[in-house]
């Protein structure tokens, strides 16, 4: 079976168009019309973070595009703990291009935009070189746009806003991009891994693998392709096992959720089965938090990062996240103000659904999970002491 990172190891660099075709065969574009029902039958969920059903998204654009739609392949990857999109683009650019081409056929789009994070240099040059290897016909309707830095620049309305107006901030929805996107045209904004998965599905694959980025207390951190029915224990073992005993796992990145290690150790990482337990697969981030690391401190760092990355347009996000970050940091430093923990609990239920985009929702979800999983730690910190051996530096943060 073909795989997302099948073939030579990703470290060997970008696969050429020739090698890609030798390995996987030509792209069956004639089958593009049949691809939407296939995506629906396999229930492929988007791999960018939100986990929206890919087939349903394509169908919604196809119903409106009339050959004039836009495909926006989203490789912004602003999540600090994720590296899988840049790894995929750098190693298998032609698979991403194949997926975008198929999507354009299937939804009726004549414009393809590869939106690649400006800091992902290797990915960008691999994508540019790969596009240069393709036909003049494809090059004529495809272009690469550098996504600016920032956590929300990859949010779909922000991506459309940036491409149209140079402003990478989310816009009020509706209309959503599938209704009115780039240049006012119906636009399919789809994560690059989801597109690559579609390109494999068109060749008979069953999309039973996914890319994850491992970090924290695990021997071999980095990007791995996993069988989605594998339990977390197996994924950790494949990464050389834990470096220290872990107490919790952060699933799905900064927009995701913490879970007790015991609750998820034997659990398959299949996005649908995680979701059934209220856990996110998100963009495939799996971060192991060591037993001696402080969950309150880790939460404070994440909240500070998310607050700093607010697009600062909506009050509940701008002021709410800042207040949450400050209170969490005070608790982490075991010097809270009276009522900080109670306020955190209240705020964690108040800011979701109150922004133009889902930035506050993601932050609130992470906070709620932390308040549950690290309940004893938060209570200890509210009494001004920490029970963990090595409080700081649990999470290496990319605060650029």
């Amino acid at each position: 079976m073909a795989r997302l990172l099948g073939g030579p190891p990703p470290a060997a660099g970008a696969e050429s168009f020739g090698a890609h075709q030798d390995r996987l065969g030509a792209l069956p574009t004639a089958l593009a019309e049949r691809l939407i029902p296939q995506l629906e039958a396999l229930n492929l969920l988007g791999r960018g973070g939100a986990g929206f059903p890919v087939g349903r998204k394509w169908r919604a654009v196809a119903a409106r595009a009339n050959g004039k739609g836009v495909v926006l392949a989203n490789g912004a990857e602003g999540e600090p703990l994720s590296m899988k999109d840049r790894t995929l683009m750098a190693a298998r650019p032609h698979l991403v291009i194949d997926g975008a081409l198929l999507a354009a056929h299937a939804v009726g789009a004549d414009d393809i935009i590869f939106y690649v994070g400006i800091e992902h240099r290797a990915a960008e040059s691999a994508m540019r070189r790969a596009l240069a290897e393709r036909s003049a016909e494809l090059r004529g309707r495809a272009r690469l746009v550098q996504a600016p830095r920032g956590y929300v620049a990859g949010e779909e309305s922000a991506a459309v806003h940036f491409i149209d107006a140079g402003d990478p901030r989310p816009t009020t929805t509706p209309p959503r991009p599938f209704e009115r996107g780039v240049g006012g045209r119906p636009t399919l904004v789809q994560n690059v891994e989801s597109l690559a998965a579609a390109a494999l599905i068109a060749r008979g694959d069953d999309a039973s693998t996914g890319l994850v980025t491992l970090s924290g207390a695990v021997r071999r951190a980095g990007v791995q392709e996993i069988a989605l029915d594998a339990p977390l224990a197996g994924v950790a073992a494949a990464a050389g096992g834990p470096t220290r005993a872990a107490q919790a796992v952060l699933l799905g990145g900064y927009f995701g959720a913490f879970a007790h290690i015991d609750d998820v150790w034997a659990l398959p990482l299949q996005p649908r089965s995680l979701r059934a337990r209220g856990l996110p697969f998100g963009c495939g981030v799996i971060h192991f938090l060591a037993e001696d690391a402080c969950g309150v401190d880790a939460t404070g760092r994440i909240m500070s990062y998310l607050a700093s990355r607010s697009a600062r347009q909506c009050g509940p996000c701008l002021f709410g996240l800042e207040a949450i970050a400050s209170a969490t940091r005070r608790l982490a430093a075991t010097s809270p103000q009276p009522g900080d923990l109670d306020r955190l609990m209240r705020w964690s239920g108040q800011i979701a659904g109150r922004g133009a985009c889902k930035h506050p929702d993601g932050a609130a979800g992470l906070l709620r999970s932390a308040l549950t999983v690290f309940a004893d730690d938060f209570a200890a910190h509210a009494r001004r002491h920490c029970v963990r051996a090595s409080a700081p530096a649990a999470l290496a943060l990319a605060v650029a």
Partner: protein
């Protein structure tokens, strides 16, 4: 058809007049931004709801028929 509040979160500046005019459905968070109760606006409250919509200085609040969003 049922009327629901729709709020443009980017426009909203937290003036708070809506919560003053319709405390039955709208409260304010710690920073002065509206928290709107889910569900359709009941017929008895519609008149005050329209008043709240008209009072918004930045036109961020609307009433729209149909599904909540």
């Amino acid at each position: 058809m049922d009327e629901h509040f729709v709020i443009d979160r980017i426009r909203c500046d937290g003036h708070g007049l809506c919560a003053e005019l319709l405390p039955e459905r709208i409260s304010l968070d710690d920073w002065g931004y509206p928290i709107i109760k889910a569900g359709a606006v009941s017929p008895q409250l519609l008149e005050n709801a329209r008043r709240a919509v008209d009072a918004c200085p930045v036109l961020a609040l609307k009433l729209a028929p149909g599904l909540e969003r």
